[in-house]
């Protein structure tokens, strides 16, 4: 029996040790050098093989990415890219240690909210020169995205894709309530929800999960003029007046009969597909959802409920890991690869994400091929992206807890947000110590 407890307890620490063993070479001493500068027309040095890590395991990506990589390899005699696909969660657990031991990839794609964690710990190459040699600046991407790759005054990342929230409409259900116009403001949207209620339909189901209640809340918070955190991310501000207004508006859906109580995870989008509701705030990735086949639907920009236009979006970025003993030729070759991928990103729209590069996205053929993406592209002028700060995801998780507490009736919106903000402040303080030195 005793052995069993030991085994039980040991399970939890096995992971710790595996990482301890592989990580014992210690990190932090590697200096984040800028990559060797890049000649016109890309990398021109000796033949190198570079490794590329990404978490694109679903949808069209597993088919598309190898094709793109093969094409790149065939066009570049001196660069061979090795495409390594694994689950995002595996990347999160392996990448820091791989970089520290010098076994990490030469180029990788990360989510915007992870950039701060990596950058703070010198795991990424400071790539200001490299990126400016590629010719990139903030104006090549939607407003606000490029700067998310900036941490502590240095540029670490090049945007790859953006994925804003939008308003999905079951047009059959809406038509039955006599609604043919797409609501764009508070008055119009609430009138539509009331009209739907009269026809016996709860028009927009609100859920209390990350997908997508939290994204809706954050969109509303920004619309009411709030921010998630203060400027230097030392204090949570999502419990501001704007936050309370945002969450109250969501909670009122239930009391006003626009949404059932206690919606399950994905219950909102499933209800839209099943024809049980008319509206759902969901990400651009749903445009590729095959469950929509046979449903009369369309997507639009999210309505403006607050005082200004705003919408949540996430982003993904190219980074150049600062492996222990990183070969600068390889980093330069990786930069060439990044530029090529961004220039040839048009097909990426087939995965339900918007290519970040303006040249690709603004090409009329993109919207012609993927008409559903049009409203999402239109939102990018006022989209807000995720906070960049080390360890921010742990604080962000509390926003979802607040939503859950408020929407299941455990607390008032203000209590729930205040409680979450208090804990988030402690996490931000801990993060200073955890990632600070």
């Amino acid at each position: 029996m005793k052995k069993r407890w030991i085994r039980g307890a040991a399970l939890g620490v096995v992971a710790a040790v595996t990482v301890a063993l592989t990580g014992c070479s210690g990190g932090g001493d590697q200096t984040s050098t800028d990559g060797a500068s890049l000649g016109e027309g890309g990398y021109s040095g000796p033949k190198v093989e570079i490794t590329f890590w990404n978490g694109w395991t679903g949808g069209n990506a597993p088919k598309l990415v190898p094709q793109m990589v093969d094409k790149f390899n065939s066009e570049h005699d001196n660069i061979t890219v090795k495409n390594v696909v694994q689950e995002w969660s595996d990347i999160a657990s392996k990448l820091p240690l791989a970089i520290q031991s010098g076994n990490g990839p030469d180029v990788a794609v990360l989510h915007g909210d992870d950039l701060g964690t990596y950058a703070a710990q010198n795991l990424l190459t400071k790539a200001d020169n490299l990126i400016s040699t590629l010719g990139y600046s903030a104006k090549d991407f939607p407003p606000g995205v490029f700067d998310k790759g900036n941490y502590d005054g240095a540029q670490y990342a090049v945007p790859w894709s953006v994925t804003p929230l939008g308003l999905y409409i079951n047009t059959d259900v809406a038509a039955k309530a006599g609604i043919t116009d797409v609501p764009t403001d508070k008055q119009g949207y609430e009138a539509a929800l009331e009209a739907l209620k009269t026809s016996g339909v709860q028009g927009e189901w609100v859920d209390s999960f990350v997908f997508t209640g939290t994204f809706e809340f954050e969109s509303l918070l920004w619309q009411f003029g709030g921010e998630l955190y203060n400027e230097d991310v030392t204090k949570a501000t999502f419990n501001s007046e704007a936050g309370v207004q945002a969450l109250t508006w969501m909670a009122d859906h239930i009391s006003k009969g626009w949404s059932p109580a206690d919606v399950s995870q994905d219950g909102d989008i499933n209800a839209l597909i099943a024809g049980n509701t008319a509206y759902n705030w969901n990400g651009v990735w749903q445009t590729t959802n095959t469950a929509f086949d046979g449903v009369q639907w369309k997507a639009a920009a999210v309505p403006q409920i607050g005082t200004q236009k705003a919408v949540w979006s996430s982003s993904t970025h190219w980074v150049f890991p600062a492996n222990k003993g990183q070969n600068t030729d390889k980093t330069t070759a990786a930069a060439t690869f990044v530029k090529w991928m961004n220039d040839n990103a048009a097909e990426w729209a087939s995965t339900g994400e918007l290519p970040a590069a303006n040249t690709v996205r603004d090409d009329p053929s993109l919207v012609a091929n993927y008409p559903n993406l049009k409203p999402f592209i239109g939102e990018l002028d006022y989209a807000h992206y995720e906070t960049v700060a080390p360890g921010i995801n742990e604080a962000n998780a509390l926003i979802t807890t607040a939503l859950s507490n408020a929407l299941t009736g455990k607390m008032s919106p203000k209590e729930a947000l205040d409680d979450a903000a208090k804990q988030a402040d402690q996490i931000l303080e801990q993060n200073q110590a955890k990632y600070g030195g």
């Binding site: 029996m1 052995k3 039980g8 939890g12 040790v17 210690g26 999160a92 710990q121 399950s264 859950s404």
Partner: protein, 294 residues
């Protein structure tokens, strides 16, 4: 002889030492440092990570003990059910029912499924508005949707119910094997003394299963204390933090939030508590055993 015995044990011992003892020691080591995958130098911090867990008002303590409460609640509700129901089912299967093997297979079948499958299947069944269960209950006249995976107290009903359905088969076959080991003569003697079914179950079957019961109780308490997948997949720890179990919180802290020292310290606190519970459980059941012998 001894040498040969150790030689035969060597492969197991090597694996056991590498994957169980060494990690356990490493974990203990990490729990008294500020180790981080991101930190260049690791410093010894003494019992700081443990003290943080017992400092009222600190975030770590609040969250950890909230998670321990969830685990405790789950153990208290699920363990009795996971003992009584399998015992009853085993007793029924042990009496001469038709197609006992068939039923035994049916009861055991869910146990072979992975937790991911369980989470997915029951997710469809328990969905508040579009789940199969609420749909069926509406046919029977229930006029509202029960939030099985979203709100209290139903989240606990779901988690315990799903776990009982999923794992009762294991305890059932262990009880059944124990019952097969009880000599038929004892039942005959009991019958001759005039004992009915219930009496012989209480006086022959239950005492005859003492060592089996001890084993099943201990493993069930440990298994329920390690509950993670069900709440991770079905309730996402919600509503709020209500169903975020200790293991779920420890895994998140250690693997996602880069707080391995804190997570290992929590693991050892959990380990210590489980060790104490198991020892008490052993003592109680052994004492009872000795009493009935005297």
């Amino acid at each position: 002889m001894t040498v040969r015995a150790y030689l035969f044990l060597a492969p197991f011992l090597a694996i056991f030492a590498t994957f169980v003892i060494a990690p356990a020691v490493f974990g203990l080591g990490i729990s008294v440092t500020n180790w981080s995958p991101f930190r260049a130098r690791t410093a010894f911090v003494g019992l700081k990570n443990y003290i943080a867990l017992f400092t009222p008002g600190s975030l770590q303590a609040t969250q950890f003990w909230t998670a321990m409460r969830a685990t405790g609640l789950f153990v208290v509700i699920s363990v009795p059910l996971l003992l009584v129901i399998p015992l009853a089912v085993a007793a029924l299967l042990n009496s001469r029912v038709r197609a006992a093997t068939f039923f035994r297979t049916i009861f055991f079948a869910p146990y072979v499924l992975g937790v991911a499958v369980i989470g997915l299947v029951w997710g469809y069944i328990l969905d508040t508005q579009q789940g199969i269960l609420n749909h069926i209950l509406r046919l029977f006249g229930l006029d509202r949707d029960i939030p099985w995976t979203v709100n209290t107290p139903w989240v606990w009903v779901s988690l315990v119910g799903v776990t009982v359905w999923w794992t009762m088969g294991l305890n059932t076959v262990i009880f059944l094997a124990g019952m097969k080991g009880i000599s038929a003569e004892l039942y005959e003697a009991a019958a001759i003394d005039g004992a009915g079914t219930w009496r012989s179950f209480r006086q022959v079957t239950v005492p005859g299963l003492r060592s089996v019961t001890l084993f099943v109780t201990t493993t069930t308490i440990l298994a329920s204390s390690n509950m993670f997948g069900q709440s991770y997949l079905l309730t996402q720890g919600g509503p709020g933090d209500e169903t975020r179990t200790a293991i779920m919180y420890i895994a998140d802290q250690g693997l996602s939030q880069n707080n391995m020292p804190g997570a290992t310290a929590m693991s050892y606190v959990l380990f210590l508590i489980l060790a104490i519970i198991s020892v008490v459980n052993f003592r109680l059941q052994r004492d009872r055993g000795e009493e009935s012998k005297s």
